[in-house]
Amino acid sequence: MEIMELTALELGREIKKKEVSVREAAQAFLTRIAQTDKVLNSFVTVEEEQVLQRADEVQSALDGGASLGPLAGVPAAVKDNICTEGIKTTCSSRILYNFIPPYSAQAVLQMQKQGAVILGKTNMDEFAMGSTTETSAFGPTKNPWNTEHVPGGSSGGSCVAVAACEAPYALGSDTGGSIRQPSSFCGVTGLKPTYGTVSRYGLIAYGSSLDQIGPIAKDISDCAAILEMIASYDPKDSTSVKRADCDFTAALTDDVKGMRIGIPTDYFGEGLEEEVKQAVLQVAEVLRQKGAVVEEFPLSLVDYAIPAYYVIASAEASSNLARFDGVKYGYRASAYDGLHGMYKKSRSEGFGEEVKRRIMLGSFVLSSGYYDAYYLKALRTKALIRRAFDAAFEKYDVILAPASPGTAPKLGQSLGDPLKMYLGDIYTISANLAGLPGVSVPCRVDQNGLPIGVQMLGNCFMEKKIIRAAYAFEQARGRWQAPPQAQRKFEKETVSASADDMQRKEKEMRSASAKDVWKTEVKTVSASAGKAVD
C-alpha cells in the first residue's frame, strides 16, 4: 500500500520500523496536497519548508531513541481555528487573514510532544459558522467523492484532507456537529469528545460552552489513538476536566455482547432520507448480530434543540468575536472616520455574511428585554435536553442516529436558505448542548456515490463505549475505501464519480468484508417502537 493510503497508526508503525522515514512520509503528503488541493481547496496554509524541517527534527528524536507516541512522525492537518505558533491561523476569515499566533493550542502542544508533524491548516466555514465550508473567505472546499458537492462543515477542510489522502489524520472542532457531519459527508471517521476532555486553550472560540476539538481519521482506531494523545487536563482552561480514563485505545475490542443500544424514534421522522435511514438501521442490525441489544425509544425535546442551539451559540459568538475589531491584530479597514468608524468598517469588511448574521442574532437575544425570553429560555432548554439524555443513558450504553438527514448537498444549494441549513444540524446539535461524546463512522455510500455516516452517541465520559461500538461495526464493515477520486490527481475540475462506479465499489466492499449481516433485512423502526428490533 502507498504511504497515503495507510491509516495513521499503520504509518506510525512503518516509521517506527524505519520502513518509512518521517521526511518521506511528510514529502508524500506534501506532494499529494500540491496535486489535489488546487481542486479540493482543503488547505488554507501549508508551510512546506517548516514541515520538512520539523520532520527531520522528529526523525532525529526517534533515531536518538526518544520515547514518542505511536503517531510519532505521522503528519497531520489542523483546522484553521486552532492556534499554531508561528503558523497563520485565520479561522478562514478575512478579519484574521494575517494573524500568526505567538502560541499553540494545548491540543497542538500535546500532539507535538508525541512527535506529530503538522502539514498545514485546513479550510473551514468562517469562524466555524456553517455546515458546508462554503462560508470560508478562501472559497469553498470540495467533496472528493464528487467535487460538485460540499464536504459539509465546518471542519470540511480537515475531513477532505483525510478523505482525499492529503493527510493521515486531522484535528477538527465541533460546536454543533462540525466534526461529525462533514465526516459523514466525506466518508471519514470523526469523533467529538465529551466537553472538557480536550483543552480549548488556543481554539478560537465560536460557542465557548459547546466547542470541543476532536480527531478526524480513516478509522476509529486512529481516532482513539489521536484522542488519547490530545486529551489532557489543562489548568489554562477552566472548563477542562481531570479524567483518569483516557486510555481510549483500550476500548478497541470487537465485543459488543450485552451492549444496550438505543435508537431514538424521534430521529427517524420527517426529513430523513430513506437511504440514510436504512444505512443506520443496517448498522444497528450489524451490532445486534454481534450480541448488542438494540431498542427504540422516544427522545423528547428534539424539536427544541435547534432553536436552543442557535440562540446559545450565536449569543456566545457575538461576544467571543467582539475582540476582532482592527485594533490589535488582523484586518483593519484602510480608510475610516474615527474610532467607531474603524470598528464598523473593519468588522463590516472583515466578516462574511453568515458570521454577521450570527453576531446580530446573538446580540439581539442578549439585549435587554430579550435576554429572558431567548437566552435564558435556551439555557433552560439545554438543561432539559441534558436531562432527557441522562434518562436515556440510564437505559442505553450507546445511542445510534444519523449524522445528517441526507448526504452532501451540491455546492451553492445551502447558503441561500440558512434556516434549512440550520435544520440539517438536527442530529448532531444535541450532543453539544448536553456535552456528550459522539462519533460519525462511514457505513456505506448512497446511490449517488456519496458516503453516509452513522452517528454513535455516548453519555458524558463514555467515549470508550462508542469507540467499542464503532470498532465492532468496523470489523464487520471491513476496511473503508478511500473515494475513487482519491486515486486520481484532480487535475481537472470536472472530476465526478459515476454512480455505477460507486455501487460496484460498495458491492466489493460488502463482499470483501464477507459479513452475512449485510444481507440481513432490516425492519422499519416505527413498526416496533419501544421494543427490541428483531
Binding site: I82, C83, T89, C91, L96, F99, P101, P102, Y103, A105, R200, Y201, G202, L203, I204, A205, G207, S208, S209, P235, K236, D237, S238, T239, A315, E316, S318, S319, A322, R323, F324, D325, V327, K328, Y329, L339, H340, Y343, S363, L366, S367, S368, Y371, Y375
Partner: protein
C-alpha cells in the same frame, strides 16, 4: 419661600486588590513597567486565550464582604459586560451582574451628628481595563494593557448618605477596613481606590428619590466633598428653575469645580450581560468560607477594645495608633518586646508622626522594625544614650532600619556617665565663661542654661543633661 432639599447619595467604590498576579492570568500587577510588558495572550484578549480565576481574588472579596457584614453567595458567577472600547482588549469586561459574591451588608459610620449605618448593596469582582495614551505628536492613541486584568472589587452602597461628611466617613471607614484586611492599599490618588458618586436631591419629606446623576473622576477626598456640594447646588438650581435633572454620567472637573456630562442614559450602552462560558461558577465551600473567617484579622473596633484592657495608654493614643494597621502592628510588637507600651506609644505618636508629616507620608508606609524600637527604648531607659542622641537614633531606625546598638557604637553616642570626666569638662566650662558664672551667682538663672549647653557641646552631646545640671550647681 425657599424649599428645603435633602441630598441622597450612594457610592460605587472600586478597589484594586493587592494580589501579586492578575485576576485571570499570571501576569504581574505591579505598577510601572514599560507599556505592555506585564501582559500575556489572556490579558491582551488574543484569540483562543482563556481566563482562569485567581483564587486570592475570591478570598479578598470574601474578606471584605465579611468585614462589612455582607452575606456571601457561596455559588457565584462571572458575567460578560459587552462594550467596544480599545482599553478593553476583548471588548467585554469580565464582571459579576447576576450573582455577585457579596450582598446585603453595611458599615457603621460616625460623624458630628452621631452614628449611622450605611448599607452595602453588593460587592462584586471584576477586571480592570488597560490605559489609552494619546500621542499628540503622532496624533494617535496607543494602548497599554499592563493594567488590563488587574483585579478589582466594586462595593456598591445603598443610597443611605445625606451629605459630604457622611460620604467621607463612609469612605474613610471602608478604606480602613480594607487596609486592615491587607486587601488593598486604597490610594485614591494612585487610583487603587476610586469612588463614583450617585447623587440626587429631593424636597425634605418626599418619599420618592429624585433623578440621580453619576459623577466620575474624583481622585481625592477633597474633590469628592467639593463635587458633592457642586452637584447638589447644580441640581437644586435646576429644580428651582423648574427644569429637570437628566439621568446621566458626569465628569467632575476639580479645577473648575463643576461637572460636565459624559454620556446620558438615553444613549447608554446595552451591555448585553450574560454568564461567561469560559469560567466555571465559583463554588465556595463551607470549609473555605470558614477558613477565610478564621483568618480574618482583628479589625479596628476590636483592637481599640483590646487596647483599653491590655495597654495602659490614653484613649487618644489608642485611636491614633489604630488608624493604621501598620502602626498598630509596630506598637503591639514593640510593646511585647520591651513591655513599655507608653514609651512605645510616645515614640510613635511623637517622632514617628512628626517625621511622617514632614515627609508627607501615611502611617501605612512605616517600616520601623519593632526589635529596633524596643532596643532604642531600652538604651534610653538604662541611660546608655540621652534624649538628644535617642532622637538621632530614632531617625536612623525610621529611615534606614539601622540596628540602634550598632549605630550608637559606631557613632560613639554612649552617654558619658563617668562623673570624673564630666567634672573636668564642667570645670573647664566654668573657667572659660567667667561672665556667665558671675551672672548666675548674681541671680540670673538663665546663665545656668548657657553653661549646660556649653558643657554638652564640650561632651559632643553624649552627656546626660540632668547630670551636667547637677554638677554645675554643685560646683557653682
Amino acid at each position: 419661600m425657599h424649599r428645603q432639599y435633602e441630598t441622597v447619595i450612594g457610592l460605587e467604590v472600586h478597589v484594586e486588590l493587592a494580589t501579586k498576579t492578575k485576576i485571570f492570568c499570571g501576569c504581574s500587577t505591579e505598577f510601572g513597567g514599560a507599556p505592555n510588558t506585564h501582559t500575556c495572550p489572556v490579558c491582551m484578549g488574543m484569540p483562543g486565550a482563556l481566563p482562569v480565576l485567581n483564587r486570592q481574588v475570591v478570598e479578598y472579596a470574601m474578606a471584605v464582604g465579611l468585614a462589612t457584614n455582607c452575606a456571601i453567595n457561596q455559588y457565584c458567577r462571572f458575567d460578560r459586560k459587552n462594550y467596544f472600547y480599545p482599553d478593553n482588549p476583548q471588548n467585554y469586561q469580565i464582571s459579576q451582574l447576576y450573582l455577585p459574591i457579596c450582598h446585603d451588608g453595611g458599615i457603621e459610620i460616625e460623624t458630628a451628628s452621631g452614628k449611622k449605618m450605611i448599607g452595602i448593596h453588593e460587592i462584586h469582582m471584576e477586571e480592570d481595563a488597560g490605559k489609552l495614551v494619546h500621542d499628540e505628536w503622532e496624533d494617535c492613541s496607543l494602548v497599554d494593557y499592563n493594567r488590563s486584568g488587574v483585579p478589582l472589587i466594586e462595593i456598591v452602597s445603598e443610597p443611605d448618605m445625606r451629605d459630604a461628611s457622611e460620604v467621607l466617613a463612609y469612605l474613610d471607614k471602608l478604606r480602613l477596613i480594607i487596609r486592615y484586611l491587607g486587601a488593598s492599599d486604597c490610594k485614591l490618588q494612585e487610583g487603587s481606590m476610586r469612588a463614583d458618586v450617585n447623587l440626587s436631591v429631593r424636597e425634605v419629606g418626599a418619599q420618592k428619590f429624585g433623578t440621580r446623576t453619576e459623577m466620575k473622576n474624583l481622585n481625592s477626598f477633597k474633590a469628592i466633598a467639593r463635587a458633592i456640594e457642586g452637584e447638589r447646588a447644580r441640581q437644586i438650581e435646576l429644580l428651582e428653575e423648574g427644569k429637570e435633572v437628566i439621568q446621566e454620567t458626569r465628569r467632575w472637573d476639580d479645577n473648575k469645580e463643576y461637572s460636565y456630562p459624559m454620556r446620558s442614559k438615553e444613549d447608554a450602552h446595552d451591555y448585553r450581560y450574560f454568564p461567561d462560558p469560559d469560567l466555571v461558577p465559583v463554588v465556595i465551600s463551607d470549609e473555605w468560607l470558614q477558613a477565610v473567617k478564621e483568618r480574618q484579622p482583628e479589625l479596628r473596633a476590636q483592637k481599640l477594645e483590646r487596647y483599653q484592657k491590655e495597654f495602659d495608654i490614653p484613649d487618644y493614643d489608642a485611636q491614633i495608633l489604630t488608624e493604621s494597621k501598620r502602626m498598630a502592628d509596630i506598637f503591639e510588637q514593640t510593646s511585647a518586646l520591651c513591655k513599655k507600651p507608653k514609651k512605645v506609644s510616645n515614640w510613635l505618636m511623637g517622632e514617628a508622626l512628626r517625621l511622617l508629616k514632614e515627609e508627607n507620608r501615611e502611617a501605612d508606609t512605616l517600616t520601623i522594625v519593632p526589635a529596633h524600637l524596643a532596643k532604642l527604648i531600652e538604651l534610653t531607659e538604662n541611660g546608655t544614650i540621652n534624649q538628644t542622641a535617642a532622637k538621632e537614633v530614632f531617625a536612623e531606625i525610621f529611615h534606614h532600619n539601622t540596628d540602634p546598638e550598632l549605630y550608637v557604637k559606631e557613632h560613639e553616642l554612649t552617654a558619658i556617665s563617668d562623673e570624673g570626666a564630666l567634672c573636668e569638662a564642667v570645670q573647664g566650662v566654668l573657667e572659660a565663661n567667667p561672665q556667665s558664672v558671675a551672672d548666675y551667682r548674681g541671680g540670673k538663672e538663665k546663665a545656668l542654661g548657657y553653661l549646660v549647653g556649653q558643657t554638652m557641646k564640650q561632651m559632643k552631646g553624649k552627656a546626660d543633661p540632668g547630670t551636667v545640671n547637677r554638677l554645675l550647681r554643685e560646683l557653682l
